[in-house]
Subunit: 162 residues, 4 copies
């Protein structure tokens, strides 16, 4: 599939995803002039926040403040492939991989204005009741909305072969 | 080895490591009252910085400003096991796993005052020349200092069995 | 002037200004559930960055990386009037008050979706040559662009009387 | 008192103060290689946090989490006099100037290893009940502890003349 590869450096760009743009700011950059890597994880968290607010209609304020719940990241894997520089506008994409009773496994890709992947990550999020310190099942309506973001099987297979 | 287990919840505490203490500050915590996870990665970076400065006698200022080099984190895996709260003093430990020509693979563990592991991570760091945008070999003297922090094989095996 | 007051709670909103919107994010908020105040100053810095990039066509990347200059904040005064909560979209406005040979005095106002001022600040910025550690005069073309953002005298007087 | 002046560039060093040391970290620095100014305000907040914890025996956790109170900064003035570089160990000092029913006015000075003042600030803190959204009087025992940090009048006068 050489042609397909040519058409898209970001191999999973055809999958259903939630997408935002992120300006790399002065505040994100370190003395080496590139994004300080913990700030990439803040970008990950902002993407999840935007997805909850906009994609799922389930705002962080609703989750954390109104309901006393949480959606902590319990696992994270990240490859920092290429540096990002001040002033670049990154495309941030979130792809849901798996939805459990109370957990979501998602892929996150930050790509540059030149379409190259800069950071690729996997996150596992868990819905929790903070007062009772335990995982809780996604309410049905929320689960249905989350499921619309799950990457179909053929995409997953294709990704594994990459 | 039930007794050994009892003696230490942090299973790799016997290995050679670089260790610091980290106070969980108000600035680290989010509206859920616990550490905002990108701040854990800042703690990881601070630990690597302290290790370079104190353990390796190779300061970040020397690396980044004086020499024009960098020591970016190119890969990261993290399990956020238990939340950390404001005011807790965490123990941060770094164990070197593998040393390549220009890369280091290290484990990082943040444990609580109750000796439970709170965050466990793996990082891969690469020494780079920022002007030439390429990895460079560790200078010999530096390599020797790094090697003194490598965890012996029996520890690695034990960890894999855990 | 009761009518005018009614029309605008933010008393300097009629003056020429550079304006952006800022979403208050989870990452900005502290265990008290409101914006952690150093993050307001990051919002200030982002506003100045956006103003330079968009309003002045003089990007931070151009200033800091390409030319080796800087535009540090040398003085800051801030009143934190009302707290800001996660999910609120703030309006951030910058008004230039005075332009010197190498310095700018500007007012910054962050107001809430309810039009109330939440944070009011004054900043003094100085253009510097980082290698020579000294202030430098604004290039003429830049000075002309900056001057288009200066608040006219009658606005200044009105503000002083408030 | 020319000799005394010579002996100390930091003119208020003789006054009663709460003092800590702050390492300037990679994480604090920007692409210009110096501390990003919002991070100075985080250092201010950390100093206030340490003062509450250690100097006043009134921890932020106690204030914010246990009691549902807050100690927000409502006013801030800062002069950024000289830049601070990665690896420098700063001395951070807090001097109480005035204690009201529910507010504290304090001066904060960050000085470098060369004893020069780098950042000088004034903060006004207010004790609040977060549920009732109102200022509350300092409990008596706390007020007594705060008063031990107030700078005597002669120091204030001397400072005003500087």
């Amino acid at each position: 599939m050489a042609d397909a590869r040519k058409a898209t450096t970001n191999s999973i760009s055809a999958a259903p995803s939630f997408q935002t743009e992120v300006l790399v700011r002065f505040a994100d950059c370190d003395p080496a002039g590139i994004v300080f890597y913990p700030r990439f994880l803040e970008m990950f968290n902002n993407l999840v926040e935007d997805w909850c607010n906009t994609g799922l209609n389930f705002s962080f304020d609703d989750i954390v403040v109104q309901r006393g719940w949480g959606l902590p990241t319990v696992h994270l894997e990240t490859d920092f492939i290429l540096p990002c520089r001040m002033g670049e506008v990154l495309t941030a994409k979130l792809f849901v991989r798996r939805v459990g009773r109370s957990s979501i496994q998602a892929d996150i890709v930050l790509s540059g204005p030149d379409q190259t992947d800069r950071v690729r990550g996997k996150v596992v999020l868990v819905l929790t009741d903070r007062r009772e310190h335990r995982a809780i099942a996604f309410p049905d309506a929320l689960r249905h909305r989350i499921l619309t973001f799950v990457v179909p099987d053929e995409c997953t297979r294709k990704l594994k072969e990459d």
